[in-house]
Symmetry: D2
């Protein structure tokens, strides 16, 4: 769902400023890359950086410029950089995005610059009615690009992780947190709660409509599960005990030989993990990241707990004021431990750090309506066999996250910054 | 969840009578088979009839006799006929169940007869405490065998369907229904409803606990979608229009070349489908069957409707008194049209005929507790990437179905008798 | 190439006698099977016994009866039991031969009996010219059925081998040989030798024409490699040393975890192998069997030797008078050690026991002409990516083998009775 | 087999000159590439240009410098750029060569420059004995790099061919040939011929020893099969007639939808093919290229002919004086028609243009001895399931080809410049 407010006369400049900021940020994220890194797709799910740069541009060209009759930069890009919009036409197969050495990186940057220029000219020249119509699409395009900023980071991490030379994206600062405080269960009364977006500002269509959900009383742990805690699960045979796992998860464990979170490896008895800053010793106080839903679920079962339902998560989040945590802008690019002094009573780490797997399958809210036209494919058609994640991560842009934000990935996905918060039924 | 009532002294005979009935029914279902049909597994999901006969016996042997120290009929059967109970030990791979010509059919029947005899002796000789402990396991075992009676029918249908000789299971009676009445939307107020099992009698653990769910007002169509209606979807390009499909479903359509429900085929311009009675012209008034969740969902989208959530379905079902419809005992083995005279106002075909796909992913109810021990693997570990189906089908034993019954299959499954009931948000 | 001799008047009876013998033998080989065993195909290469019974019948029906206008037993059998004759029409996929529970075993035997009867009537009623034309096809059909007698045995062995119950085909006699004599190299002068079939009697088209080949002087080992010798290769790290292997073979070793010949397994430190008589301790003096070309080649390299070229093998075989060894008729169904007293100077075990892999790829002889029509597909179209094997095995019918006989299998095949004879260049 | 001659004192400079020429040529071939093209591997068989640059360098480092104690440029390159030498150690999987964005192109060029420098220093500083020992390895390394020059061209062509932007490597000159002359059969007497390398100069181990082969009289067509001729095969249903194909080939036709040579495509009724110069109309007079062995064999059968055996090819080639044709140095990068005026009696196009598939499987010559040590893996371990090709192609360096040269590829390979020359048995 896009903003439906009618923009005023003076907002074009503001919108263009924001456009410029978002677009510049994307390019700045690519600055540490070598030219060779731009085209790499080390697994089907991880798109090449070059593709992200082009696809986000394609989005503005296709949904803003093309309907206004602005000529295409290159008609073949319509096919090459369409991600999955069947209504727009055919698209180059996702798993083969890494097989295109052309267009070159420089051509893609030219594509971006030209599109930016055309967009600016267009926005300044259209009439009020046209601007009002396009405004929500522009805002959607900016949010879309922010999503790809996060994917850029997670895809680069994956791409580098398989290289025996262990290249790093860039040097990272040391972790700031101290020792993780002991965790505590916080109680919530449940009852008839409202979830979903309402009010001003942007949200995706899948966050609407705001609606009521009945919840039994429940408890949520006040911070994320740490690497140290997850390691105890591993040491206790977590990956070898079928009774802890969903059936599909147990099959994954065996088929892919899972023994630890993605990116963890052992050398001379010590545990390391591969990060955007290269190999690092595991920080035991930091939140565990890069676990699948199956691992999160197994860890929860081992803990005699469960994962939160998404309505529980949102009801709990509604008790927190403000949105703080580690986000993309911090440049930390790794989830951080609870800060010293942050160990006051209350919910910590609800935002940033790692996406929190929920027990809820990704499904339409009651009364859900996808956007009309091709943009209706943005979210709705993925509502099967995926789980909802909440809260954002250390590579999510800060302004991009909301309490009502619904991220979703298949239960086996591990390459996102995905972690664990525990919940349980209230003790009666 | 099994019955937790303490059985009285005189119930052993009653239980054994019921045991005998269920066991005899299973064997009677196999009577029309040739010896050669017993070992066939035409796809990984469809187990050989021989395996069903053995596995249901293994269940009683493993969970009743073995704990009491009764010697095993054949120690290797423990491995060969375990389906998926990791806690019991290793098991022969599911996809290779059809690769075992031995034990022979006659040996399996001997296994059944011996186990039946031992079970009878055991049940009559144990003390009160032992009987009270085993009683719920016995009841679970009988419900388990009823589930396999249904699978026997659907697996035999699949196994025969791929044979160019088009063998039939047995002659089937003609359909009894007349012309399908026009359909009507029925309104339900929603609000805070209770779903899930409570009260006496048996239910599976996944139906508990009974709990509250908030529902917006909704509407449900008063009968199942017919073959004629589904054909109109096909004629309108249903299988060629990506905007109607979930992304995963659209991929299935292409990968497997779906163009119609499973078992449908065209000959000289006429549509036929393969049934347990062999090839038959499609009965346009009968409910459509053998569609996947993806097809049900696409059909609903084409109809400007949606599939019901499982709580909606159950709330609607609670307004119907009694459980009537076409079940296994009728011997019809095909879903039937709404009977003439049944076209009164109200919900029709809520039970029997075809399982009704719901929009709800299979997930634990709030407060869900799996059974303890190995039997905890019965249901709980499948709670990912599956959809709930409700209402039973024409090959479900009548006494096996309940308003709270939750069946579940992956969204791509088509070989069950699975069909479509439409729902929609109430018009405000 | 079929016999091209013109048959005399009195030969019809003789031919029918031979027909009856061959057909009866095939059925006798199936006598030990349970009905359930007939339909099993435990891997794509191993056809169900039922299919062998039907396909050999199909051959006579298709190439003898149908051209004469005799009606088909069942028109669908034309499709179901065609193996690979594109010229005859479409055929049921090879890998799915085990998915047909119908026709039943009894129906297949009826198919055989009816076809036998029709064939007899036909042969006795056609005129001289017709008989002369059909005579070579009849002889080809008989040789074809003998090939399937061998495949019946090797397929049954494979089908049983994967069953944890370890069923046996039937009790086998003890081995007759004694201790394997030490082996010796025999020298052959090479030069311009003639190989390939000439003269009277039947041969396949791939054995013709007889032609000249130039050979350098070579040596051949006077007996087959024994299980004891092969075990030494294993103990010396044979399966762990890449320098011994062809590149494709090394990949197989890893992909499939080869560590010993097919059917070998270790229990409590002792080596057993699965045979048509069930599990047996490995007979160290018997020839090694069930090794692939890759294993034979690696063993030869480990021995500082090589495998014989097929012309070398045939030139050596030409120095042996008569064809003796263990064949199907012996009922031994396992390769036997060199008999005591057989350790005289000269070539032993050139025939029977195990097929001997040669270094020669299967290719047309100079001047090769396939049969005309559909029967031209019998041999010629397989002349790529296969290796020639020579000499027959313990499950080859005695009268079926010849010095010029060319068997062929892909280099990774192991389920035939395939073994090793070593050769080397003459020491200068 | 490497040169075994003892190099004289003055040869170091000559060798270094040749080294410099070969190395410079490789880099010059990469000059038209964009940086982005260097890392691309569009199918498992086609290595990235960057990998070719590094691997050829690795060869000199591993087999010349490392044994002399020269430190490695980067110890991890030993693993990353080993192709398949098990004796040297583990190697990065072939199919994942395109997944390494690092080392960068510039680092690889640095690797080359440093290795070149070290090699020069080393060669000038070692003593006579050392030089004599290394000399044949140096020559092997140069021939090895020439092989990779050819692979660079064929891999780049493949990599570009799948890109919808149809990038071209560089502009190519127009074809020089005129209309293809009609073809004629040339007769050869056969008899006892000698094939294989002898004499001075370099050859690979698989070309030795020179030995005798008996050949029946045969005929060879005096020029290569043209695109026009191959098109007639296509028009005559060549890809739809199973009787023309080997069984494995027919399976490929269906599995991969072959309908024309690789790189051919039709647009508005006209046939084009993709070349290193980008898309071009098919030149009907030029030799057909990019056909598999299966297609060559099917074409030959359609022509009532066959492919030559390799000994026939070599015996025929021995009647031609000199080695002329289109080679890499010409810069034409496409096979050329027979030149006008070249239509004199005699064999044309025996060298250059396209590799000529032979009917001979790749096998060791009688008396074959692989090189000792790791270099023994160069050729010998590929002697299964491959066919021999003869004569070189338009991207083979001129000095690299010889009458005795044996190239080999699997029968399904199409991305090399591989074409067809016909042969047949002499008419009696």
């Amino acid at each position: 769902m896009m903003e439906d407010r009618i923009p005023g006369m003076g907002e074009r400049g503001t919108l263009l400023d924001r456009y410029r900021t978002v677009r510049t940020t994307t390019e700045a994220l690519c600055a540490p890359l070598a030219n060779e890194d731009y085209g790499l797709q080390a697994m089907p799910d991880a798109s090449p950086p070059k593709w992200h740069l082009a696809h986000t541009t394609w989005f503005f060209e296709t949904f803003i410029l093309e309907p206004l009759g602005v000529p295409l930069f290159n008609p073949q890009y319509r096919y090459l950089f369409n991600s999955y919009y069947e209504s727009v036409g055919r698209f180059w197969p996702r798993s083969q995005r890494g097989l295109l050495s052309r267009p070159t990186v420089s051509e893609i940057y030219q594509y971006r610059a030209t599109t930016d220029e055309r967009l600016k000219e267009t926005l300044l020249s259209i009439n009020e009615k046209q601007f009002a119509d396009l405004y929500p699409v522009m805002v959607l395009g900016l949010n879309h690009e922010q999503q790809h900023q996060e994917l850029l980071m997670t895809d680069i991490l994956y791409n580098f992780s398989i290289n025996p030379l262990r290249p790093r994206y860039r040097a990272l600062p040391e972790a700031v947190g101290g020792q993780a405080p002991s965790s505590a269960w916080l109680s919530f009364p449940g009852g008839l709660v409202s979830i979903g977006f309402s009010g001003d500002g942007f949200c995706f269509d899948n966050e609407r409509p705001r609606h009521q959900v009945w919840l039994e009383p429940f408890e949520v742990l006040d911070r994320l599960v740490t690497n140290a805690e997850y390691w105890m699960f591993m040491e206790d045979g977590g990956y070898r005990r079928p009774e802890l796992w969903l059936s599909d998860g147990w099959r994954q464990v065996h088929e892919f030989g899972w023994q630890a979170p993605l990116y963890w490896y052992q050398e001379e008895g010590e545990w390391y993990h591969f990060t955007l800053g290269g190999p690092r010793p595991v920080d035991w106080d930091a939140p565990v990241a890069h676990v699948s839903y199956y691992e999160a679920d197994a860890y929860a079962r081992w803990s005699s707990a469960r994962l939160p339902r998404e309505a529980e998560w949102e009801a709990a989040a509604d008790t927190v004021s403000g949105i703080s945590g580690t986000f993309l802008e911090s440049g930390r690019l790794m989830p951080q431990p609870v800060e010293s002094g942050e160990d006051s009573v209350g919910l910590h780490q609800m935002y940033g750090e790692v996406w929190q797997w929920t027990e809820s399958a990704y499904a339409p809210y009651p009364g859900y309506r996808p956007l009309s036209g091709a943009l209706g494919e943005y979210n709705g058609k993925f509502m099967s066999s995926q789980q909802v994640l909440r809260g954002g991560s250390c590579v999510t842009p800060h302004e991009h996250i909301r309490p009502t934000y619904r991220n979703f990935f298949p239960p086996q996905a591990r390459w996102q910054f995905s972690g664990i918060r525990l919940a349980r039924d209230a003790h009666g």
